[in-house]
């Protein structure tokens, strides 16, 4: 329970899984988050950290037609973001929403055998603060999927008109034109038999490299040829994240076996292992500014802050005594365990890189500062 009450809290109405840093907003530290409620009207919240850094203010509240499984903010336009959503069953869907969708007619439902998934690019309307009930403007639907969509990726390093969406089997590369409000499939690749994709990460150092996670490995793709270039064999990878500072470094989170740091030039064995969480390690993300600073979120209702520089020198702190649930003392800087439920959402602020937002399943956003731990570096 160390540092439990230092965070700034914000409550969402419903359960939620995903939170994203609004990178394009250079004036404020803001986050986007969307709720995951099967039976209620879902919302997208634009949250802003007050200038004093003591309060989280709801800057915008927009209704979203479906429960949001994934949300990503556009790195070059603060008003644009993408969501992946599911509609539940066609047969059991609540009528008002259904009706709404039928009216707009923009979403093409693909008829799965039960649940249906969709992905879309949204734009927050201008002057949203002055409108009574601001509506999100749909820029484009990524409607080429036939399977359960997992995530939509933006290139994290800057303006790029391409998008990637990943479903269970396929990897799609889209060309997005915001002004024309269109998104077109540029290329598509099937991951192959028996590889159920679960997510992915776009290399911030290489515009043509994408990593996708599947049941038994991490696969690396070259977007120009849409060919697999490399693979790291590792089971049950939940989440992967490229190190923003160091090329070739990928951090993965696995259900049972914690966090692994890979040097992609040596895919046989990880560079480093971190014990992760008591239960599953769900998400992992590297700090965009500070080298080796890694956050992980787990289903044991905690967020761990690690310091694991990948440079050659070994941490000399391995001798100290442990009292946290993790067994290895050295790399673990802090464990934020003041959560009521599993933590699925995690995002560093790119504007204030010592700040991160975490989102637990019960809909609580907590923004914490890691400043007290930076001095240890």
């Amino acid at each position: 329970m160390q540092g439990g009450s230092s965070g700034i809290g914000y409550g969402l109405k419903y359960q939620a899984r995903c939170i994203s840093d609004v990178k394009a907003d250079t004036d404020h530290t803001s986050f986007l988050t969307g709720t995951l409620s099967l039976r209620e009207e879902n919302e997208v919240h634009l949250i802003r950290l007050s200038s004093g850094g003591t309060e989280l203010i709801c800057e915008g509240l927009f209704s979203h037609p479906n429960e949001i499984w994934d949300l990503a903010s556009c790195p070059f336009d603060q008003r644009i973001f993408s969501t992946v959503f599911s509609t539940g069953s066609l047969f059991d869907i609540d009528l008002p929403f259904y009706g709404l969708k039928m009216e707009t007619g923009l979403i093409v439902f693909f008829a799965g055998e039960g649940e249906s998934y969709g992905a879309a690019i949204w734009q927050i309307p201008e002057l949203y603060g002055q409108l009574n009930s601001p509506q999100l403007e749909r820029i484009a639907s990524l409607d080429a999927h036939t399977r359960k969509i997992n995530c939509v990726l933006w290139w994290p390093s800057g303006r790029h008109d391409k998008l990637i969406s990943i479903d269970d089997e396929n990897l799609f590369l889209w060309t997005l034109d915001c002004s024309k409000k269109t998104a077109q499939v540029q290329s598509k690749q099937t991951s192959g038999m028996l590889h159920y994709l679960s997510g992915g990460a776009w290399d911030p150092h290489d515009i043509n490299a994408v990593a996708t996670t599947c049941e038994s490995s991490v696969q690396f793709w070259d977007l120009r040829t849409m060919k697999k270039t490399n693979a790291v064999e590792r089971a049950h990878i939940r989440n992967a994240n490229y190190d923003m500072k160091n090329n070739h470094i990928l951090v993965t989170a696995e259900d049972e076996s914690g966090i692994h740091i890979w040097d992609l030039r040596k895919p046989k064995s990880p560079v480093k292992e971190l014990p992760g969480h008591t239960h599953w390690t769900w998400a992992v993300t590297c700090n965009p500014e500070y080298d080796g600073l890694i956050l992980s979120a787990g289903t044991d209702s905690s967020v761990n802050l690690w310091l694991a520089p990948t440079s050659a020198e070994e941490d000399a702190t391995s001798e100290s005594i442990v009292e946290s649930p993790a067994q290895q003392a050295g790399p673990l800087l802090n464990s934020y365990s003041d959560y009521e439920d599993s933590v699925y959402g995690l995002a560093w602020s790119s504007r204030e890189p010592w700040t991160f937002a975490s989102l637990s399943y019960d809909g609580r956003v907590v923004v914490e500062s890691v400043k007290p731990f930076l001095s240890r570096k």
Partner: protein
Amino acid sequence: METLSSANLVTARVAVDSVPDFINGGPVKVPCFNQPWKRVPQLESEEVHLIELRRRRKKMKEQKMGAEDNVPLDDKARRMRDLLSSFYAPDPSTNNAPSNPGTLDAINTSSFDADQYMNLLMQKSNLDELLQRHVEMAAEIKNIDTDLQMLVYENYSKFISATDAIKRMKSKIVGMEANMEELLDKIMSVQSKSDGVNTSLFEKRENIEKLHRTRNLLRKVQFIYDLPTRLGKCIESEAYVDAVKFYTGALPIFKAYGDSSFQDCKQASEEAISIIVKNLQRKLFSDSESIQARAEAAVLLKQLDFPVDSLQVKLLEKLEQSLGDLQLKTDYIENASMESNDHKLGKVPDSVHITAHEGSIHGFVEAISAFRVIFPDSEGHLIKLAQDLVVKHFETVEQCVKGRISCANLLVVLRTIWTDVLLVDEVLSEAVLPGFSLEAAQNALKQYVASTFNYLLHDISDALLRVNVSSKEAAEENPLQVALEASKKALLQGSMDVLLDFRQLLDDDLGLLVQLRDFVSDWVQEGFQDFFRALYDCFFLLSGRKSSSSQDQGLTAGAHGEKVLAGLVLVLSQLSVFIEQTAIPRITEEIAASFPGGGARGYENGPAFVPGVMCRIFRSAGERLLHHYINMRTQKVSTLLRKRFTTPNWVKHKEPREVHMFVDLFLQELKETASEVKQILPQGLERKHRRTDSNGSTASSRSNQLRDDKTNRSNTHRARSQLLETHLAKLFKQKVEIFTKVEHTQESVVTTTVKLCLKSLQEFVRLQTFNRSGFQQIQLDIQFLRTPLKETVEDEAAVDFLLDEVIVAASERCLDPIPLEPPILDRLIQAKLAKWNEKNPITP
């Protein structure tokens, strides 16, 4: 009175001056000397005076001597002498100058003024004094007079004697010249005659000399012609020393004339010499000859310019061959060990036969000492040879060490080596063999220690790996327990045995080992340290959690394969605990008792074996392995659950008819875990107590308060939240700590496993969307799980809570969460239970 004395003084002065002049041969100043004949009567009359004077002087001298003896010189005498000396002094003025004419003492100075003196005297003295003065003065004057006279006489007597001498000389010198001339003539004639003789004899003498030289030459030639026969005789009588002497003497001649005049001779003698050389060589090589003889032979051969080096090399080769015999064979070691066993059995040590080795080492030592005498400059080779011997010995030792030799055997071997070394050292101390072998022994022992620990490690990993085999056979009832016990025993017993072995090394009084004692105890300590580190690595290797550092250790990886039995991990974990709690303290004790810290390492490095660090390492290893075990178990369940939840289409699920079979599999898995755990881990002693603890209000009340704060804070935001209800409901329930610290007890491990599995179950449920039937299915499955889980688990509250959570999660993810009617639920569960009991009649 004064004038008189001064005049007297002047004459005396002339006399005294003239004496040395005459003696020096200068012109005689005294006028009467020029006419010696006139002086004779004068001299005669004077002679009487002189005799008289001499007598008086003698008397005076005697008196004076007496006075000097008894009292200091009286005034008179001193003044007298002063006067005399001042008179003779080179510069009379210096003496007189300082005297003051105004005093009475001025009487003796040259500037004496009689009138003044008289006046002074008259003024100063009364009558009596004047009278006395007069008397004194009269006496003085009389004295001076006599002295003066005496001096004059003395001078005269000297003159007289001088004239006498001159007179005698003159008479004798006359006529000498003629004699001298005669002598010169005679000498001349003698010289001319001797020259004549010399020239007449010269020719003859040269002739004689020539003849003599020819004779010598002829004798030499004779010698050379005789040489072959002489050599032959020498060979017969084995007088090789003479033979060589002769030959070397003749050699220069052979060199000069061997091709011409003495060809035959040379050949013959060379033949003889070659025979001699052969004989000498034979002598040199024959062991039966005495060492001196052989050494002599070597020296002779060297004198004959025979290439001794090649001989030396040959002999060395021979020695090297004998070295081959010395090589310790492994079977020899076995023999030795048998002997040592005999010792142990109490057989008479005398019965130990002198082995071939001992014989050959003695031979070797003798050979070396002989060799040294024969070739005094061969030390280098010999040292190399001896060192080779030691090196070979220790190579054998190293081979033995590789082949898992017992300590006793090692000792026997080392002892043999040491005796060898000492023997060789006696004859060849320059080789510093003890030091050399000490180094080698150091290496060998180090290796021995290392390999011993290596074997110990192997033993333990073998004992552990037997789990795999035995569990495959499934013959034994509790394979894990057996493995644990076996490995515990292997570890403890093995360590103790190792310590005992090393103890033997320490206790042995072998010189070699005594010096290495400190090192040995250091190595043992280091060895344990390294051993435990290696064991730690090995554990993780076996457990399949390859830490990057020990990846290519290859110790057991090959035999092991990639599939790791979860049970093995559990055994390893428990073994770590055992090591931490029992083995390390015991070993520490043992080390402290029998290996008093070797100082060779230096204190700044600290002790080699740090039990505290090791305990900590193994404590953490125990925990990590336990976690790993739990992880492996939960992972299995996870796969099961993953399949269960990803495969069916939950949105189109059909009505539940029975409890799904994944529950069976899950329980099966748990049962397996429980049985493994039961074999290995101890039962939690304070079970009841801890349960109340975890339900206790202290911790939960605190967290409740925290939660209240938070709820208050966020209340505004979630005022309308529907979730609030559930959250509030949760609030009033006790906060359940799901993830507590795992302990090394059966209950703790099983409980943790169950908790983690249920949490996974919840997470899987959260990822799905259910229709009513799907939800009901989950409800049914969970409901069924409740009873058996509670039975196996220590923390019922937590499990209950987690099971509820799963149902809550399912209902949240359900489009139409209407639970099953309790009667239907009951009926389905009963049906399942009946089936369950049928299958497993023992379990309730």
